[in-house]
């Protein structure tokens, strides 16, 4: 007799500092591995989660998504509390809920929001070092915001994709992209899209920083986009500045 299983969705927040990214890797500690191990111990089943975004080493999240199937009787919405008791303090479930048995987080339409945070001070601030990218080069946030606008919409983002990407199509839609100052010395790039190519947000951040220091204009960024050539865009900004903020399923 087959057990009745249910599918449970988790909203997963983590500090990526100590992890080799999300995805399972032999002999490395990853967020996916910790979730699998902790859920398997908690529910006394062999649990394998399906993740929505395979964030890179050092990238953080407020709300990455994972789903898994379980025969456990504990209600879906209670799993967050039980799981948080057993997880290390750099991973915390924000929500758990039962979803349809065929719900797959990478196979349905969604909007993802990322933030890239830049600390713009003469010297690094130790309390910000793990969650922002520090640069002493003065950044003009207004110029960054102006350049950012040319990336909004549906485009071929080949210029903003690392060459080892395995994506089938380089076309993505950016719904919103803003650059604003926060407090005295931070700049936050916030971008929402239907999906992002490999390293796309970090290459956008690296390119907008070139605009912020006056090396690229908005017209230059438009040319870079149209060139469909990774070598034309700015560098890939460091992982620690990046946080997956929100996942919305449509």
């Amino acid at each position: 007799m087959e057990e009745k299983k249910k599918r449970v969705l988790l909203e997963v927040a983590y500090d990526g500092t100590a992890y080799h990214g999300w995805q399972l890797q032999p002999e490395s500690i990853t967020v996916e591995k910790v979730l699998n191990d902790t859920l398997s111990a908690l529910l006394k089943e062999d649990i394998k989660v399906i993740g929505a975004s395979r964030t890179d080493a050092g990238v953080h999240a407020y709300g990455n998504i994972a789903v898994f199937d379980t025969a456990a009787r504990i209600p879906g919405e209670k799993i967050s509390y039980a799981l948080n008791q057993k997880l290390p303090e750099d991973i915390r479930i924000q929500k758990s809920a039962e979803v349809a048995p065929d719900f797959h987080p990478r196979k349905c339409d969604s909007r993802k929001t990322y933030e890239y945070r830049i600390l713009n001070t003469e010297f690094p601030l130790p309390t910000k070092r793990l969650y922002s990218h520090w640069t002493y080069v003065p950044m003009d946030a207004e110029k960054m915001q102006e350049a950012a606008q040319v990336l909004i919409g549906e485009h071929d983002f080949t210029s903003f994709c690392s060459i080892n990407s395995q994506a089938e199509s380089p076309v993505r839609t950016i719904y919103d992209l803003t650059v604003r100052r926060e407090g005295e010395n931070e700049i936050v790039i916030r971008v929402t899209g239907n999906g992002f190519l490999y390293n796309m947000v970090r290459i956008i951040a690296g390119t907008l920083m070139e605009a912020g220091r006056g090396r690229l204009s908005a017209a230059d960024v438009k040319e870079i986009l149209e060139a469909k050539d990774r070598s034309k865009a700015g560098p890939t900004a460091p992982a620690c500045g990046l946080t997956l903020v929100k996942y919305e399923f449509l």
Copy 2:
């Protein structure tokens, strides 16, 4: 022949997570010890800094102050760059400058500003865990702001001082004290005064949180202040939420 020495002031930012506070202690790693050891190695002299605020274990700083005397020829304002090359990444000098030979950071009038940060969410956010105090109890920042106002001015702060304080007088002046929301889920208490008793900011934070959850009114906080009795005030809020933001010498 005695060498000519100069006195150098440092503005010191640090992430207090890994340290047993500022002050030298046998067999513990403290910020003062790391500064002494690193400066002594850099300048090839036996350097002992004099600190302004002896922050507790786990408390952070953007700008604590230290001074030291040196016969080294390196200009005072260049020491920040040289020292930052050798310090661990959780301590960073923000500024260095030569000051008068008799300048003592604890013996001159100053204004100190602290921030106490509260994360008010259902579950902890891992990226905020080292720099804010998390509580799931809903906090009303307006009630906290209202209660905070009764503490502004010159008062006997005995009710807001840990009983093992060694201060000569419990009278201090708070110039400014505000409670405001930051973003969707953080509350920041910012307080500026001419000095603070032992644990005073953390006890103020713990008491304002009692106001934020509706257990104390502004009138209650006024009564607590007038009682001059530590047992009447709220608990000492955890160290990790506290940051020494700014030191100004008058």
